[in-house]
């Protein structure tokens, strides 16, 4: 089965600095309140878990992880 990348959203506590953001090169980031929201296409499920492991390894606090529907007009990267 060929993997179909899906769009994911990850909410992390605190604003990530440049070093931590560089650990997620394929994700867009946005600061909302005192949180960081990372959004991007993730290749498959094992890539999702690698991402979670990265969040854990950097001592970051994962608040939410979910798959989201892409907005209709947004071009797929």
């Amino acid at each position: 089965m060929a993997p179909t990348p899906s769009l994911y959203m990850i909410r992390i506590k605190g604003h990530l600095g440049p070093a931590a953001l560089s650990a997620f090169p394929s994700m867009d980031h946005e600061f909302t309140g005192s949180e960081t929201v990372l959004t991007g296409l993730i290749e498959d499920r094992s890539a999702v878990f690698s991402l979670v492991a990265e969040v854990e390894a950097l001592g970051l606090e994962l608040l939410e992880l979910r798959q989201v529907e892409p907005k209709p007009n947004e071009p797929r990267r």
Binding site: I12, A19, S34, T36, E56
Partner: protein, 874 residues
């Protein structure tokens, strides 16, 4: 450091439970807590502290580190040699060894496994689970990991034997925060401490980082205010703050060594292009700044994983152009210092794929001698997909991994690829590659019983072993392995005179290059009697081989199976059946799949001999049939083939199955039909059919010496069969004369077995004691035959149920179910080997040969209730 009294007290109570689990995110202070507790434990309990290496995939490396930690912790184990890495690692045996060491302890022992989340081996995790469920009462365990460990502890949990410390338990309280700041030499207001505590939420790493930044800070209040006011993620913020406040040389060193899994002063100097790094590393550790030493001499260090991860990101961000060069420096340094795996990993980091492949190929051989196939497999996976699959240079490494997994066909395919690529390898490396490939071929051929191919490969090796190759360290290793494999194969082909010098040279070379595993392997095959080696001498060699294995901590490895089989065989020849039985029990404790197939043939044959000597003909037939089946998986013909086939036929004939007996003989290749063993078997069949004259005719070729391959024991057997035939024909004088010759031939080696095998009591009676020149031997033979008959009668009369041990009774209860032995093993939390041993004991104590008979007999003896029948027709 802050004394975290409550947590330490919780750990003090760890001994009350079997397992304590600490599961909390990085930086929660797990390792610091465990180190503090270990230091405090002196005099109260013994601590075996294991830190799992980063990304550990190799069960052998993991278990050896556990074994080392246990031996270091226990006073009794000082003399016990700690084994080094070897091929054919047996995790199960290591667990048994650890349990044995722990079982002798009166003082409480705690096994701490820190960073368990780094262990990525299903096999090792399953074995750890088993170890935990079988810990002796004086021992408990502490497991520390970032996540709940992937070990099923539900049995222990149900029994209330598991306690857990979680992240919230590890959080610093406000009081502890103040203490920590005070202990760091910081005199700050309690309001400031409180806001620091609030902002870090008691996270240990955050507090320690903040403390480091606050030391010597011109304006602590402002630092805390800024930190409290920011929305930045605290780990990154505080690490960046700490780095900013370090002197340039420290900052430079931290960034440029962050790619290394471990670092020492010399390597740090090289990577950072400066000097004096050894001092900086020591200072950082003393300042409790996330740098810890790995050895008591404080030469090697590693960074706290959290710090290392951020440093690496920072390096890639601030100096992306340097990363590959730094990896390249590290690869060269590790290569020069003989750390091949780290060298390959850094070459991969530098994206020098072909160099990484070359390094791996050139050092493959010594890695396999250390049994590091799991590591090789992990390294192979780190090549980019195209390289890994297509790079012919890596084919030998793939072959080694397949071979270790028992995937012989895949291994052969990779070796074929490697060979076809050989002429494209540069001349200076080609020879080394050729011998590595040949040695893998050799191992493959031996494992699959392609005896003739082994000999061809060795000849090939000899021609390709130039002086240059022999001068390389790996050249000598290859030499030892080639000699070992050649000697082993010659042994199984029965060419003992050739095998002897090869194995002896192989063993001597193994000693010279410090490879005890190879030495033990050679010596284990050097204990067979031959024309030049008497039974007594062979026996002595066997005992010495076992002692050698014990001395190197290899006494529980399947590699000693040939020595056990040889010892069993020799003691059977000499009439010491109980001793033989002990050897065989020990050998059968190994998983049959882990024993060389040729040695399996030997063990089945010896087992059959033991049964035949004790008159247990059905069991003897089973064992000889098993030997024959094991032989059929070999490509070559085993030296014992004619012997076990002949004895199988003789036993079948005596059980009244002459057709089956003839069929057994017919299964032999035509060129073996005229050997002494086969003539003896034909004679035994004739005797069973009451055709004594034909029996004598069959024996003619043996007795007049025209048949090929007539060792003395075959001759003794032939004379005894002739004695039976003469007696059947009514010629007592000829019978007595034949017995007298048999005794004369048997005397030098005390060959008692043929007398027991042929049921010689009847013919011995024809020979009055005073008429023989071998009275002492005759008396011994009569004792052995009568003794074994008496012992046999004893076991039959005794009530077997009384004899079953509680454990055997537990296993017995499973026999009416349709669970397999490995399922029983899982349910009882013991190894399959242990279940096999119990089942064998149950069968022998109940006097039965299979599971359904055991259940029937056990029901008769009321050891099992009749109602416990498996579903389905009875």
């Amino acid at each position: 450091m802050v004394e975290r009294i409550d947590l330490l007290a919780t750990l003090d109570q760890a001994g009350a439970r079997k397992v304590m689990v600490i599961a909390a995110p990085p930086g929660s202070g797990k390792t610091s807590l465990l180190r503090a507790w270990s230091a405090r434990s002196r005099g109260k309990r013994r601590i075996a502290f294991v830190s799992v290496d980063h990304d550990q995939r190799d069960p052998q490396q993991f278990w050896l580190s556990v074994l080392r930690a246990v031996f270091e912790a226990l006073p009794s184990a000082v003399e016990v040699p700690v084994e080094s890495a070897t091929p054919e690692f047996d995790g199960q045996a290591t667990i048994e060894r650890i349990l044995l060491e722990l079982a002798d302890q009166l003082e409480p022992v705690v096994l701490i496994v820190d960073d368990l989340h780094e262990l990525h081996s299903e096999e090792a995790l399953a074995q750890l689970e088993q170890l935990l469920s079988r810990l002796p009462s004086s021992t408990s365990a502490v497991l520390s990991a970032r996540r709940d460990p992937r070990i099923r502890l539900h049995r222990l949990r149900l029994a209330g034997e598991v306690a857990t410390i979680r992240a919230s338990d590890l959080e610093f309280s406000e009081v502890e925060t103040r203490e920590l700041l005070r202990a760091s030499g910081l005199n700050v207001s309690s309001a400031l401490a409180a806001s620091l505590h609030r902002r870090t939420e008691g996270w240990a790493a955050g507090l320690r980082l903040a403390a480091i930044s606050l030391q010597g800070h011109p304006d602590p209040e402002r630092f805390v205010a800024e930190f409290s006011g920011t929305d930045r993620a605290i780990g990154e913020y505080l690490i960046a703050e700490m780095l900013d406040r370090q002197p340039d040389d420290v900052r430079n060193m931290l960034l440029r060594t962050s790619l290394l899994g471990r670092v020492n002063g010399e390597l740090a100097d090289l990577m950072s292009g400066s000097t004096g790094c050894d001092r900086l590393l020591l200072e950082l550790e003393d300042a409790n700044a996330f740098v810890v030493s790995l050895d008591p001499q404080r030469e090697w260090f590693r960074f706290h994983q959290l710090l290392a991860d951020f440093l690496r990101l920072e390096l890639r961000r601030s100096a992306p152009g340097e990363v590959q060069d730094l990896h390249r420096h590290a690869a060269r340094w590790f290569e020069e210092h003989g750390a091949v795996v780290e060298a390959v990993r850094h070459a991969q980091g530098a994206r020098d794929w072909s160099h990484a492949a070359e390094l791996l190929a050139d050092h493959l051989f010594s890695l396999t001698l250390d049994g590091q196939e799991a590591t090789i497999a992990a390294v192979l996976q780190s090549f980019p997909a195209g390289t890994s699959a297509d790079e012919p240079e890596l084919a030998p490494a793939h072959a080694a991994v397949y071979l270790s997994q028992g995937l012989h066909q895949q291994a052969a395919a990779q070796l074929a690829r490697a060979e076809s690529h050989l002429d494209r390898i540069p001349a200076d490396r080609r020879q080394g590659q050729a011998v590595a490939i040949a040695s893998l071929r050799l191992a493959l051929a031996r494992r699959t019983g392609h005896f003739t191919e082994v000999i061809d490969q060795v000849n090939l090796l000899e021609t390709s072993m130039t002086d240059e190759v022999e001068l390389m360290a790996s050249g000598r290793e290859l030499g030892a392995v080639a000699l070992m494999n050649l000697g082993i194969v010659e042994t199984w082909l029965g060419r003992l005179a050739d095998a002897e010098p090869h194995l002896a040279q192989g063993a001597a070379l193994a000693v010279a290059i410090g490879r005890p595993y190879l030495e033990v392997a050679c010596r284990s095959h050097l204990c067979f009697p031959s024309e030049r080696v008497s039974c007594a001498a062979a026996r002595e060699r066997g005992i010495q081989a076992l002692a050698l294995a014990e001395g190197h901590g290899l006494g529980d490895r399947p590699i000693i199976a040939p020595a056990l089989g040889a010892l069993a065989g020799v003691t059977i020849w000499m009439g010491e059946f109980d001793e033989a039985e002990r050897c065989l029990r020990r050998a059968w404790d190994f998983d049959e799949a882990d024993i060389d197939p040729s040695a399996v043939v030997l063990l089945h044959t010896a087992t059959g001999m033991l049964h035949a000597a004790r008159g247990e003909l059905e069991s003897a037939c089973d064992a000889f049939t098993a030997a024959s089946k094991a032989q059929s998986s070999l490509d070559g013909v085993h030296v014992l083939a004619t012997r076990f086939t002949g004895w199988l036929a003789a036993a079948q004939a005596r059980l009244g199955m002459p057709e089956a007996a003839l069929a057994s003989l017919a299964s032999l290749p035509p060129d073996l039909e005229r050997t002494g063993d086969v003539w003896n078997a034909r004679a035994a069949i004739c005797l069973a059919r009451n055709e004594p004259a034909l029996a004598l005719a069959a024996l003619d070729a043996v007795l007049n010496g025209t048949a090929p391959d007539i060792p003395s024991f075959t001759l003794v057997e032939a004379h005894l069969l002739a004695a039976h035939a003469h007696l059947d024909l009514g010629d007592r004088v000829a019978s007595a004369a034949a017995v007298e010759v048999a005794l004369a031939v048997a005397e030098p080696d005390r060959l008692i077995f043929p007398f027991a095998l042929t049921g010689a009591s009847r013919v011995l009676a024809t020979l009055p004691r005073h008429e023989t020149a071998h009275g002492a031997l005759l008396a011994d033979i009569v004792d052995v035959i009568d003794g074994s008959a008496r012992a046999d009668a004893d076991t039959r009369q005794r009530s077997p149920g009384d004899e079953l041990t509680p454990t055997e009774l537990r296993v017995l209860r499973f026999l009416p179910t349709n669970l397999t032995r490995s399922e029983i093993a899982r349910d009882l939390y013991v190894s399959v080997n242990t279940v096999n041993t119990h089942v064998r004991n149950i069968y022998s104590k109940l006097g039965v040969g299979d599971r359904s008979a055991a259940v029937r007999r056990a029901r008769e003896l009321r050891l099992l209730s009749a109602g416990f029948a498996p579903p389905g027709p009875a």
